[in-house]
């Protein structure tokens, strides 16, 4: 199973991960981190192929992707 772990405190809310996800499995969440940015969340039941485009193209390295 592929797990997308989002480091919410490092996120700056640029939403590039949402733009680059080929399956559209990420979306911007409603809660804010301590810096006041809205961070993304992995959709419930969202599909993930493990391409890690979200993590590799995140400018702040806030996303880790791993297979368990």
């Amino acid at each position: 199973m592929i797990k997308v772990a989002i480091n919410t405190e490092r996120c700056k809310g640029c939403s590039l991960c949402i733009h680059f996800c080929p399956k559209g499995s990420l979306s911007i969440g409603e809660s804010l981190n301590t810096k006041g940015y809205q961070y993304p969340v992995f959709n419930d039941g969202g599909e993930c192929t493990g391409c890690a485009a979200c993590g590799k193209l995140c400018p702040d390295l806030a996303i880790d992707v791993y297979r368990e």
Partner: protein
């Protein structure tokens, strides 16, 4: 690079040579991604302990505070000159690279760059092209597109007054001392992989002692374009990639002089 650790396969984790710290860059600034690529390449080539980075002046220099390598801060545009001195002093078994932006490299430091290329210095130059002077508010740089509105070209860049966008990767390919010259972009996962490959080849050329290697990376600067990060990436894909073609312009294994006087 996928590594197995504690029963889980990491598909995308934190590179070993990156410090566990935040970058001071704006949201959506792709210089952070360039920093990630550099860290990954340094990890894969296992050169963390013998790498020296020369930082130019600009936003790109902030990437380096997140990297766990030695670095020297050069004056504005003088990174290839400082890199020359460092490389000649530390010897062949160290890896020296510069990270420079378009205002730093293509405008203020073009003389340093051209002479470093002409001497065929064993350096790697990572050129972050975001089509504006990002740090100071997005003023016109030599790489600004024609028609692009910036604080210094409020009616759009006009070639009659302000000239044409400068193609640095093609310019560098013309020098006999240059071993590798490529242009990449950060607009998709495929282009990310190509960029990483190009950076790795550029480091390899230096380690093989061939000559100067340069990689121009097109990256988006959302605040200077006054667009959202996703719109800035789309803008880059539609406009910057139309002006600046991607690809390798030079890739040689030995530098060959054209003519040497005989009987000397």
């Amino acid at each position: 690079m996928p590594v197995k650790s504690r029963g889980k396969k990491v598909l995308c984790g934190q590179p070993k040579s990156r410090l566990d710290t935040e970058s001071g860059l704006c949201p959506g600034c792709q210089h952070g991604t360039i920093g990630r690529i550099l860290c990954e390449v340094i990890d894969e080539l296992e050169i963390q302990g013998k790498t020296i980075c020369i930082a130019g002046v600009g936003c790109h220099a902030m990437t380096l505070f997140t990297m766990n390598v030695d670095f020297v801060q050069a004056l504005h545009g003088r990174a290839p000159g400082v890199g020359t001195g460092v490389k000649r002093a530390v010897g062949k078994n160290k890896v020296v690279f510069t990270v420079q932006g378009d205002g730093d490299l293509a405008s203020i430091g073009i003389g340093d760059l051209i002479h470093a290329a002409n001497r065929g210095e064993k350096l790697t130059i990572i050129f972050c092209n975001n089509s504006a002077y990002g740090t100071t508010g997005g003023q016109m740089a030599p790489t600004t597109l024609l028609g692009q509105v910036t604080p210094t070209t409020p009616e759009g860049r006009n070639y009659e007054d302000a000239g044409f966008p400068m193609h640095v990767a093609e310019l560098m390919a013309a020098f006999p001392g240059v071993a590798y010259s490529a242009r990449c972009a950060l607009t998709s996962l495929a282009n990310y992989n190509k960029t990483k490959k190009a950076v790795k080849i550029a480091f390899q050329k230096q380690m093989d002692g061939v000559g100067l290697s340069i990689v121009e990376i097109l990256s988006a600067c959302p605040p200077s374009l006054k667009l959202s990060p996703t719109k800035a990436v789309e803008w880059m894909e539609n406009n910057m990639m139309a002006e600046y073609p991607l690809g390798e312009f030079k890739n040689v294994d030995t530098v060959t002089p054209k003519y040497i006087l005989k009987g000397a």
